[in-house]
């Protein structure tokens, strides 16, 4: 009797999820594959942001894969649908619209969400998050009216965004401190290099400072810092790093620390559940330690490895080649990001 095709469910429509889906389809032509994403639009590649903002391209042209790809590969792309619970014992997911969904093998690739420092939680409504295509579209709508923007933090997404803003002639203030510098280590040498690089690009840098208050004034904002700096700005981006997006795993019994703990085969503590991308904390045999996964290079690679293991291949992870971020002629090494430059 022919073996029954398995049902693979992937939570997350980012680099990890899509890379896994592609590998699964290649390895199992008959499998039932579904990607579930809480985002209302398909995944938008951040590296294309400048192109989106400058060239006014249609957002769909910047999607990871065109929609037709999913049709051709018979992969169900379920957008705007939120997983609220996972029950590994029953091999079931519960979705927010009361749908119960069975899986044979599950990949959690739900990515990360912007980290909101406790001290800024009451200003959440005034801060602009930048995580998906909708955010990009909203930003483009407002672009003409923006003269000055503030980066509350200095994470890689923020730096990349700053690069796009510079190309559009916007002036930028960046508020940096050790809690908002992600995913790089915030040691003195890195900090000094970064400040120098940003200043070369005419970005105002408030180093070792913390945002204390944000007030709405007309169509703009006033941002105040611990060191007494008052910034009049049109928009304040929350760029203080990311944290794994795994709240829905509460009560599932799956082991988590910062992210979901996975072994070198990307397998979680639950049977038939794997995790990849920025929601995962991965064990690397080379390091003999766990490392929080960040960046699209890692996501793509780990998604692929997870899928191969879901297909019963025994494939262990290895560290990705480091990437390079260039700012004002200064180079920074990252693990996980493919690298970018805001100098060109």
């Amino acid at each position: 009797m022919a073996k029954k095709a398995l049902k693979y469910v992937i939570i997350g429509d980012g680099h990890a999820g899509n890379s896994a889906a592609e590998t699964l389809r290649r390895g199992s032509p008959d499998a039932d594959i579904a990607i579930i994403s809480a985002k209302p639009t398909h995944y938008f590649d951040h590296s294309m942001l400048a192109s989106f903002l400058l060239d006014k391209k249609d957002i769909t042209s910047l999607y990871l894969y065109p929609y037709t790809w999913y049709k051709e590969h018979t992969i169900r792309l379920r957008l705007n649908q939120t997983v609220i619970r996972v029950d590994p014992g029953k091999h079931e997911l519960m979705l927010a619209h009361n749908e119960r969904m069975h899986y044979d093998r599950l990949l959690v690739a739900s990515g990360a969400k912007p980290k909101l420092p406790e001290s800024l939680s009451r200003y959440k409504g005034l801060l602009t998050m930048f995580t998906d295509a909708v955010d990009a579209m909203k930003l483009r709508e407002r672009l003409g009216k923006l003269k000055h923007v503030t980066m509350v933090g200095g994470d890689c997404i923020g730096l990349h965004l700053a690069g796009s803003m510079l190309k559009l002639g916007k002036s930028i203030t960046c508020i940096l401190n050790e809690y908002s510098f992600w995913p790089l280590e915030y040691d003195t040498s890195v900090k000094d290099k970064l400040i120098e690089g940003l200043k070369k690009k005419h970005i105002e840098v408030l180093a070792d400072d913390i945002t204390t208050e944000i007030v709405k004034e007309g169509t703009g904002l006033t941002v105040m810092t611990k060191n007494g700096k008052i910034i009049k700005t049109d928009l304040a981006f929350l760029t203080s790093g990311m944290i794994p997006n795994i709240d829905f795993l509460d009560g599932s019994g799956i082991d988590v620390q910062t992210g979901i703990l996975v072994d070198e085969y990307m397998h979680t503590s639950a049977q038939d559940v794997w995790a990849a991308g920025e929601c995962a904390t991965v064990y690397y045999p080379e390091l003999k330690d766990y490392r929080q996964s960040t960046g699209e290079v890692n996501a793509k690679m780990l998604g692929n490895i997870s899928a191969r293991n879901m297909l019963d291949e025994k494939k262990a992870v290895s560290l990705a080649e480091p990437g390079k971020i260039t700012i004002g002629g200064e180079d920074f090494i990252t693990y996980g990001w493919k690298g970018f430059s805001i100098d060109v």
Partner: protein, 625 residues
Amino acid sequence: MGGKGSPLTYEKSLTIEICGSSGDRALAAGEILIKTLSDIGYHVISFDAYPAEIRGFGKTVAHMRAGREFMLSLSRKVDILISLSDRYAIEQLRNLNDEGVVLFDNRPNNVVYEDLPHDADQTEAHRLGPGVYTEKEGWKTPTKDDVSIAGHLGPGMYLYGIPLYQLSQKTTNESRSRNIVVLGAVAALFNVPEKEFINNLTAKLGKKDKSIESIIAAFEEGRRYVIENIVKLDPYSFEKLSVDRKSYRLMDGNKAVAQAAIDMGCKLYAGYPITPATKIMEILSDELPRHGGVVVQTEDEISAIGHVTGAGFAGVRAMTATSGPGFCLMTEFIGYNVMSENPIVVVDSQRGGPATGLPTKTEQSDLNHALFAGNGDTPRIVVAPTSAKECYQWTAEAFYLAEKYQTPVIVLMDLFLSLSVRNVSLDPIPDYKKGGNKFPTQEDMKLYLRQKITDDGVSPRALPGLENGYQAVSGLEQNEYGTPVYDELSHTRMTEKRFRKIQTALENDVPLPQRIGVSGRVKVGVISWGSTTGAVMDALDSILKQGKSVAMLKVIVINPLREKEIQAFFDDCEKVLVPELNYEGQFANWLSMHFQKKLYRYNKVAARPITHDEIEEEINRLLEE
């Protein structure tokens, strides 16, 4: 609401479906929505689908199309699908555009769905019914039972979840107002002005619903939810148009027929209920008594046409309306009225046949019956309006022609025409059309001959009460006095006379068929009748904009045919397409009896109207062949 929420203007027409189970009030929501879109200046057309059986369950779909430009037909593809019942709405996804929008209830009442693989047997899933989850009991019914529409969208479609059940409970303490909550969501999501919506809600529900305030609260809650929670991404949007549509009225074909009957001075309507014609009787039973008339619900259709026949003899304008099965029963009286030269108007709103057939589905398959029903040589006039506006115009015309030519006139509608709602502007009926009877002159009354042989075939018709206007009528062949005769000469002369007056009608009262499109020689010509004409006109509109060599001929009077003009059209066409909603190609067959032209038939028995995009595809196919 962010994203593309700023009011964009969608230049093309939009097709919307509201799908639910009977009891979800999907049709009521559709009625309010279509009226609102009409009120803000859009041309609209709507057509609902519902189960044949009278019961509390089954799929119902309110289907509507709205656009800036005048339109006559529906689109096959849907742009916005609103699900009040996922189990039924999933079936509708096959018609949704690749970039279509789905609105669904993302907090249904404890119903938990099991998603199914692509190739799952949906029918089987539906048969088993929904699974139910409660906190106390957990899963109560089998798990592999139902599906959520969320799991079946194509990758490029837009999904908006709204907690319809929760918001309905919150505002009205019941779940049945989900249809109102979703209208609020539609208002916010697609920029339909709130004021017009609320006016129509009040007009529709206010009279009979004491809790109108909570209904409006349900509407507002749906609207508020979208504004606060939904990121609009799709490109579809309406806006209030600055056009004057005060002269437009929202009506379906049935209402147009009833209105024409009233305006033409019809004093008796007799009928037996049958889908889709019943509504004509319902309207007239309200309206006719106010205009000095009477409605009689008879024991069957034979009796109904019998009443109308009697009214004709009494000189009273009368009408009956039915559908195919009822029209079968009326057949004997058609011949009787041909023989006795009595004016009657019979409306046949066609539905899927034969026999009881498909009571709630449209078809154009009664044409043979309308043209030929009856024994002997039974000439009659058959007209087939193509829109609600023409239903009004040609029902009025039917009264005029019936009276003027003392013959049955059959108005051939169909379920789509009967029940599809459009905003129409009616042309007033000229006064001379309101009395067509050929009264006898004083000279005639010296020796009154009810069946007098005349050049035009029409005999003077004395109405009861006219001195010396005695007459005998029966179904027997007669001489000029009305006395039964069976000789060769009398039968020949009388038969010729009965056919001659139809020829007179053709010469004097049958308008030229309307030609639309490229004049002179064309590669493809389309000749159409009945409700399919709307789809042809919309298709032609699109094709002509592409500069292609096409034209169409709209034929409303099916018998007698304007042969000369039709022949001229055929001569101009390299290929002639005849689209119709029946299997045999009944109109094509009728044309083939009169013309030698090769006809390209396009026949469907799809239990739904032919759409303009289907016709467009077929025309293009013929152009490329």
